[in-house]
């Protein structure tokens, strides 16, 4: 196991290096001038622009810039934003709490809902409950999150005026009424994300349960005279959740990118909206930092999923 782990980590490093190289190359080779904001400004003379370019290190060829970027990144220096002259890490640090709060709570809600629904739906296959649950799950992942978001706004904010549809990031929680406001403004973004994630997980949990239910060990458990509830809870559910947990680990990073859209609908000032504004402003250091962070998350969670699978399922042996 530990040898496998070491090998996987050693494999992850070149993958990440290669990804960072590809991302950097695309960003550097793409047309579009990071200084376009200055280019449009007639008050900035060409020689000043050249100086700025040199100050930002943009006069050097991109492979050299890549090596420099990599070197400083490994020392924890993510560079400075072209647009706002603020250290990239400080910019990201400001945005992480909103994203984590919305994504994290949505994920927890999805888990709490999806796993019991999936289990019950499989145990009572073809029942009324199963039909409703599978139909809901099917619709849930066929409807794009931006449409659910807009529908929620139309119904809850416009029609009934129950909830605010713009997320107010300046809101400070210091008493009950501001806490209430914070909860009210978080309901819709969390619902949108949780709905989608629940749908995916319900389907997966149900399928995994259905795969395990007809197996021999289940019959053995019943033949021993165990109560049905302990057959299901102690035998089937435990085994069925192994692939579900792996899926959760695998999809965790995609939830962050899915939050991109949700953040855009409700104007949540998270990482996603930072990425979109940076892309629109050609702010290469910020784009690079965020996309690379997402890549690290993907690789990391892939690793976690693999390791978890081995830990949870003793049938899997790594050599």
């Amino acid at each position: 196991m530990s040898r496998y782990l070491v090998r996987r980590i050693l494999l992850a490093i070149p993958t990440l290096l290669l990804i960072s190289f590809v991302l950097f190359a695309i960003l550097s080779l793409a047309p579009g001038d990071p200084l376009s904001q200055f280019a449009a400004n007639p008050a900035v003379p060409p020689e000043v622009r050249e100086n700025i370019r040199r100050a930002l290190g943009l006069d050097q060829p991109w492979p050299i810039r890549y090596v420099k970027w990599l070197w400083s990144m490994m020392h924890g220096d993510w560079g400075f934003s072209f647009g706002s002259r603020v250290a990239v890490w400080d910019l990201i640090k400001l945005r992480i709490p909103s994203t984590l709060a919305v994504v994290g709570i949505a994920y927890v809600v999805a888990l709490v809902l999806a796993i019991p629904i999936g289990i019950l739906s499989a145990v009572k296959q073809y029942s009324m409950f199963d039909h409703v649950a599978t139909t809901f799950a099917f619709m849930g992942f066929s409807v794009p999150t931006f449409f659910t978001g807009l529908l929620l706004i139309i119904v809850l904010s416009v029609k009934f005026q129950l909830l605010p549809f713009i997320y107010d990031s300046t809101l400070q929680v210091h008493d009950l009424s501001t806490l209430g406001a914070q909860i009210r403004q978080s309901i819709m973004p969390i619902t949108v994300l949780a709905l989608f994630q629940t749908a995916v997980l319900v389907r997966y949990t149900r399928a995994s349960m259905l795969e395990n239910l007809p197996q021999d060990y289940v019959r053995t458990a019943r033949a021993k005279g165990l109560a049905e509830s302990s057959v299901i809870n102690r035998h089937v559910v435990r085994n069925s959740l192994i692939p579900v947990i792996t899926l959760i680990a695998l999809t965790a990073p995609t939830v962050f990118s899915g939050a991109l859209i949700t953040e855009q609908i409700f104007r949540v000032p998270g990482i996603g909206s930072l990425l979109i504004t940076s892309i629109q402003n050609n702010d290469i250091p910020v784009i690079m930092a965020i996309t690379f962070t997402f890549s690290i998350l993907v690789v990391l969670f892939n690793l976690v999923a693999d390791v978890l699978y081995g830990v949870l399922d003793p049938r899997i042996r790594y050599d």
Partner: protein, 315 residues
């Protein structure tokens, strides 16, 4: 005498009744068709999808309302007989725009999936068939692509490369090519793994060995002996892929980096509608419903195909 077996007996053993012989021939595809027809929701999906296709492809021939006729006096009107889907802020008819946009959305879905399927099958087939070095290099590349954060990467590439492609191919075709290529290039990996796994197992089978003995070339082995065995996986992946490509395109357009306003794809219509949710909710609801219906019916068809093409489930 009882032990001798005549040629007649072998051709027609006495135990087989005449009725059984007259049974219509059953092939894999007719079995699949029969199985598919039993899946009611998949059949409903086919009906809805055909209706949507007819509406977007043939609709504009019947419903001859211009998509870009600006009429400020008729702005933000709700659904009526004159404008079944209502109008937008400039008084343009939304049904006509949704039909035009539907063509683009569906075309993006289909073309992007064709690219992804071609890439995935090719890479998976080569890796699985030849194995060894080629296999490990191709699988490393696949892993690398799988580790890319898809949506941020899509956003980045689409935004950065839109201008040069616009210059070469014109504003509409340029964006179309860019979006289709990027979606296709980021969605082939799961299929490549699937095809590879299936090639690995099928190439060990006796019939492949037999074909090789007869002198079939590598390409012939791959194309006409092994590939048909992976076809059902490819078909299911392709079907579901169209749905997710439509969602991806709409997401890009919804985030404002997809198609320009004069190409009103469903996602673009939603992007424009965002500002007027209070005054004109119909503007968002109709295109959103179209996306939802298209993707839902495609997913149900994919589900039906998955059941129908799985020989273990055939009754």
């Amino acid at each position: 005498m009882a032990t001798t077996v005549t040629a007649q007996d072998i051709i027609r053993p006495a135990t087989v009744s005449e009725a059984a012989l007259r049974r219509p021939s059953r092939s894999l595809w007719s079995d699949a068709m029969r199985q598919f027809r039993r899946h009611h929701l998949a059949m409903l999906g086919v009906v809805v999808l055909v209706l949507l296709l007819v509406m977007t492809l043939l609709g504009p021939l019947v419903y001859r309302v211009p998509t870009d006729a600006i009429d400020y006096s008729a702005g933000l009107l709700g659904p009526s007989l004159q404008h079944p889907f209502g109008t937008d802020d400039l008084g343009r008819d939304l049904l006509a725009r949704a039909m035009l946009g539907g063509r683009v959305s569906m075309a993006v879905g289909v073309v992007a999936v064709l690219i992804a399927i071609t890439l995935g099958t090719l890479i998976g087939a080569i890796a699985g068939f030849f194995g060894g070095r080629i296999d490990s290099v191709l699988m490393r590349v696949t892993d690398l692509f799988l580790a890319l954060p898809v949506l941020p990467f899509l956003l980045m590439v689409t935004y950065m490369f839109r201008d040069p492609l616009k210059k070469v191919f014109g504003p509409e075709l340029g964006i179309f090519i860019l979006i289709v290529a990027v979606i296709g290039a980021l969605n082939w990996m799961p299929l490549a793994r699937l095809v590879r796994a299936s090639f690995l197992s099928v190439k060990q089978k006796e019939f492949v060995e037999a074909a090789r003995c007869v002198g079939a070339s590598d390409w012939r082995l791959m194309l006409s002996h092994i590939l048909p065995n992976t076809l059902s996986a490819v078909i299911v992946a392709a079907t579901v892929g169209v749905g997710s490509a439509i969602i991806t395109e709409s997401s890009l357009s919804f985030l404002g980096v997809g198609f320009p306003p004069d190409m009103p794809t469903w996602g673009r219509l939603l992007f424009d509608a965002q500002q007027y949710l209070d005054l004109a909710p119909h503007w968002a609801i109709f295109p959103g419903l179209m996306i939802f219906l298209a993707v839902l019916s495609i997913n149900y068809i994919g589900d039906g195909l998955r059941d129908a093409l799985d020989p273990r489930k055939t009754q």
